[in-house]
Amino acid sequence: MKLPGVSEFSWRDVATEARLLLIGIPVFLWTMIPIYHMFLFAISPKEDAFSGKLWPDHPTLHNFEIVFKQQHYFLRDFYVQFWNSVVIAAAVGALTLVVATAAAFSISRLKVPGGRMVLNLALFTYFIPAAFLAVPMYRTMGNYGLLNNRWSLILAMVTIASPYAIWVLKQASDKLPVELDEAAVMDGATTLQIFRLVYLPLMMPSLVAIGTYAVLLAWNEYLYAFLLLSNDQDITLPVALGNFLAADDSPWELLMTTGFIYALPPAAVYYAFRRYMVGGLTAGAVKS
């Protein structure tokens, strides 16, 4: 053990550092190579992209120009599809927050009878593998007449995001002192006033974490989007990216550029809210 205040050069520290680097460097490469490869394609002219160079001779933003100006058959509906992704992710975030906050408040603060059971039932959703639930869900959306309507995807994603959201919010709610509610009741506050004036402000950090989580979940979703939406004008960007592959000579550099543009918002949102996310989302996980 190193004594405090003594900063002598020690071979042991160097060895430890070297061992850590021996893990760190492969971890870095493993994480970044697919992402860097996507970026490399996005900034490479077509001939460089296929040449295996690690940095293009003539890096260019031309691919981005093609995408933003929709100058390719596959990109005809780029803005519409991007907008679909935005609207759906925003709606899923908002609806999940409404549904889950109400449920968590009800279970944790109002101690509604059967609340605990509903929470356990909710978590059961995660014990059905996602692709398995997708099969009957597809047919169900058909029965409800929602296929090819963006509501089908929104409702499917709210269904998938809510249980975890309720779980995390309930854990956070339980930590708020019950005296706050009691004091508000003494002051003559109604249940809705407690919810709005006491509960929501205190829950804000958790709400940000859950809202971000739901938005990212919806933005990144491929399978449900691919099953539930099919018209070129209705699909989200990931489905459009998947459809690129149907062609024999897919324009890979444009596919990667569009993919890169599509991957930027979640990465940005994640980093902007990282402080909330990591604490908020893993808090419930380690309870046991």
Partner: protein, 289 residues
Amino acid sequence: MAITLSGDQAIAPPLSSRLSPAQVWGIVLLTPYFLVFLAFVVYPVCYGLWLARAPSNYVALYNDPIFARAAVNTLIFLVIGINIKMLIALFLSGFFAQQRTWIKWLSVIFILPWAVPSIPTILSVRFMLNPEWGIINHYIFAFTGDDGPNWLNDPTVALTMAIAVHIWKSLPFWTLILITGRLAISHDLFEAAEVDGASWWQKFRFITWPSMQTLYVTCTLLSMIWTLGDFNSVYLLTGGGPADLTHVLSTLGIRYLRLDQLSLAMASIVCAMPFVLPLVYFMMKRLSR
């Protein structure tokens, strides 16, 4: 639930005027989620099971060689893929728990695969593995002078690559959970062990592992359920090919669905129930504790 309400009123009249409105609100606020759950979980599951009820479906599955192959692939995916993934996550959770500035920065980058969407990144890997144009074979050729393998054309290699993609995507999440578990262990234990001159392995064996064992097992089980539902890793990398030899149950179910054979799709999923139900049972038991 309404019965409980009136019951409360009967038993405790002075309290009822204060409690009842809250409980009414409780029920009102819980209703939206409850309806979502009924409409999009309970109904589809029951309806799906009903669709899969005819024994002829299972005979058809049994006679479809793709199904047998998919079932075997799923087992390989679960047994090999998950154990490798969880062991690496356990190992890396120790690495990321080290107090170093550069490790903090690396952990920020390490989360990216989980945060960014699957489709562009998995397609990026798919192109890297392209035998003619991919960067991997380009370097194999540059260093050895030989053509690299046709990665996605050999079912065994292609399935291995799909498992690798799955690990790439989900490793950060499980590492993060295990880091949280590791940081929850009291630091005094390690200091005491260090005073006693415990080795790295002894510290892991007698402090870290006993504290994390339950969490590790829970994570492995949950990861198994989620991996069964992972459609992207296989579908986006191999599309189930070559010759439908790399399907897993999740992509096979969707394949039947796309072929308009919904009862077969459901039946192939029902066949996974013997795997899923024990996991669910165990998870529910852990949860209700």
